[in-house]
């Protein structure tokens, strides 16, 4: 069995508007930073894999343009997923497990601000029954939020407390788009955006990019004193039929956590990809996180959610806790689709 570890992570700041839809301007400095942090040159990378979306960019094969940022000469082995780059990381992880590559650089990028994001995301729904109605992503999250409130899973105050804690944590995160010292009371005074969601309950729309370097076995040990060894990595999906799901639970997140061997009372820190405040509460339950677990010490995606790289960044941020020695066992989570339909869990350890 080949052991695979995260050995490097870099992300751009998350900004309301940055770069072009090609992603090149955002990716060049991110690549330089992540390669410098590992001591690798681009020629040392055996496999490149990216996550991005033509619908976000508003043009076809937009990821091909981003390859300019690699400097792909001589030619490189490259792949792409039309998903958050956390799923590209999964592809690269499997590639390393096969032994066909010893190092991989995985990157995600997206200019969410080029179009109207909540409307663009309607096109990820089934094209016969849902997408023709243009149900926007915020409204769908609001349907889920109310279902949870009606079921007594949480209160609007608990949702605001998630947002307040996230914003305070983000004060220490220079890459965050939103941060602040507002209390839950302050936040609850704001009007609804989509009842029962207020602005603080929704991740801001932002542009950004991120990259993670994976390495196998001795290569990882050579590059890092403390690689973040991946001990479990899995993803799962719930029905695309919104009305069939019980929106107050997240079976696919629970299934992914089980398959990845996540024990919610044994991790030190977890970075959850919860673009809406109530989703953090639903995910903490679905993953069985204990009270002592530090959840989203970065401030989470409520403070910066660059589409197609935010999920990858959850794993990179969690890995940094291990690489820096601040934690022994962590997990990163990524989500995709409407109302937490698709979920991925990556568990990492220091030893």
């Amino acid at each position: 069995m080949i052991d695979v570890a995260v050995v490097g992570f870099a992300q751009s700041p998350c900004l309301p508007s940055a770069g072009t839809t090609s992603g090149v301007e955002l990716l060049v400095p991110v690549f330089q930073e992540v390669l410098a942090s590992t001591g690798l040159a681009k020629q040392d990378i055996d496999f490149w894999c990216s996550g991005s979306s033509d619908y976000l960019a508003g043009r076809a094969f937009s990821f091909v343009n981003a390859v300019d940022a690699i400097g792909a000469y001589p030619p490189v082995a490259e792949s792409h997923v039309e998903m958050d780059a956390a799923w590209a990381l999964y592809e690269a992880y499997v590639k390393l497990l096969t032994g066909e590559a010893r190092t991989a650089l995985v990157y995600g990028f997206g200019k969410s601000s080029a179009g109207q994001l909540r409307r663009v995301l309607a096109l990820q729904l089934d094209p016969y029954l849902h997408a023709p109605l243009w149900p926007d992503s915020v409204s769908i999250a609001a349907l889920q939020a109310r279902a949870g409130l009606d079921a007594g899973r949480y209160t609007e105050r608990e949702m605001a407390e998630v947002a307040a804690r996230s914003r305070t944590a983000a004060l220490g995160n220079p890459k965050a788009q939103v941060s602040g010292t507002d209390t839950a009371d302050d936040l609850l005074a704001a009007p609804y955006v989509a009842d029962p969601l207020r602005a603080h309950d929704c991740a801001p729309v932002g542009d950004g990019a991120a990259a993670v370097v994976l390495a196998a076995g001795d290569e990882a040990r050579r590059l890092r004193a403390r690689p973040a060894w991946i001990t479990g990595f899995a993803h799962n999906v719930d029905s695309p039929a919104l009305g069939v799901r019980d929106l107050t639970s997240v079976p696919s997140a629970s299934a992914a956590a089980t398959a990845a061997g996540l024990r919610g009372d044994e991790v030190d820190a977890v970075e959850l990809h919860a673009p809406f405040s109530h989703q953090e509460i639903l995910l903490a339950t679905a993953l069985g996180l204990g009270d002592a677990v530090r959840v989203n010490p970065s401030g989470g995606v409520l403070c910066g959610n660059p589409m197609f790289s935010a999920g990858l960044s959850r794993i990179g941020l969690a890995a940094e806790h291990v690489m820096s020695g601040r934690a022994d066992r962590v997990a990163g989570h990524a989500t995709s689709g409407p109302a937490l339909q698709q979920n991925l869990v990556c568990v990492m350890e220091g030893a």
Partner: protein, 308 residues
């Protein structure tokens, strides 16, 4: 910039019957492996993943399971005035349908409220035949009709708007064009000159920084003769689209070759830009209308062999 496309999709047996029923102003669900009725119908069972085939009619009225309120509807949504989104469990169904509720004001919305379908005036066999739902209390929904031909396809127009941002390099290039100049950039690592500039050298992966002004003449490296008419075509075919390698550049640009017969265009032909009248110039590549033969002797193959 707006991009749009009318997506036309064929329907499988389940959705074909569902859409045909909508055109008749009836709503069908399907029975799952556990006996639950799903409306709208599913093609595959959510528990066993087996194909589902047993369709049953459900009521035109139902109960709101969860809801939200949208003060400012977005383009394409079912209503253009404030409305509620809801998951609605139709009478006779066990799972819910997503749709809009025309409730007038938010204080009319609540979980558990009873709503009924409002049919579109001219059903065609599309999910939008359900115009929306409305609180029960007014007139009953329009009655079913018969004699509808089976619906096997649905067409859904999709339109999205984007604001494209130019990079710093592209911006300099476009500003140069507005002054009648062609400005490329040189890679600091390998020395190659890119026009238009690309932000990063695709060979080296480093930002290109040094501006290089290039002449508006060059060499045809390769070309094709367009014989096929298509919508939006500017010029009647046949005409020539070619790669023109500007003198001093390392990457060719695509442009039209006019001013000679298509069969006169050849690899190595020397060409010069034909600019539009100066008063029409803007920050756009359209300032150069086309290229035409310059009359110079052909460039030797070796001079562009590395740029094919």
């Amino acid at each position: 910039m707006e991009i749009g496309f009318d997506y036309t999709r064929s329907l499988g047996p389940v959705l074909s019957r569902f859409m045909t029923a909508l055109a008749e102003r009836r709503i069908l669900g399907c029975r799952g492996s556990d006996g639950r009725v799903h409306a709208p119908p599913l093609e595959y069972d959510p528990v066993t993943y087996a194909p589902l085939t047993e369709l049953v009619e459900v009521g035109p009225a139902g109960t709101v399971v969860t809801w939200t309120w949208l003060d400012r509807p977005l383009d394409g949504q079912p209503l253009d005035r404030p409305f509620g989104w809801a998951l609605i469990r139709l009478d006779g169904a066990d799972t819910a349908m997503l749709h809009a509720v025309d409730a007038g004001t938010k204080d009319q919305m609540r979980t558990g409220m009873r709503v009924q379908v409002r049919w579109a005036p001219e059903p065609v066999g599309h999910i939008r035949d359900v115009a929306c739902f409305e609180p029960i209390g007014g007139a009953a929904p329009a009655s079913p009709r018969s004699g509808v031909d089976p619906v096997t396809m649905v067409t859904t127009p999709i339109h999205l708007r984007y604001r494209h941002t130019t990079s710093i390099e592209e911006s300099r290039y476009l500003r140069g064009l507005a002054e009648g100049k062609l400005i490329g950039q040189r890679c600091p690592a390998c020395g190659k000159v890119y026009v238009p500039p690309r932000g990063a050298c695709p060979t080296c992966g480093v930002p290109t920084v040094d501006d290089v002004e290039l002449p508006d003449r060059g060499t045809v490296t390769t070309f094709c003769v367009v014989n096929v008419p298509f919508p939006g075509q500017r010029i009647p075919p046949p005409y020539v689209v070619a790669y023109v390698l500007l003198d001093g550049a390392d990457i060719p640009m695509q442009h039209l070759i006019l001013g000679c017969r298509p069969d006169e265009v050849r690899m190595g032909m020397r060409v010069a830009a034909v600019w539009r009248p100066r008063e029409q110039w803007g920050t756009t590549p359209q300032n150069i209308d086309h290229f035409q033969p310059s009359g110079e002797p052909d460039a030797p193959f070796d001079s562009y062999a590395q740029h094919l």
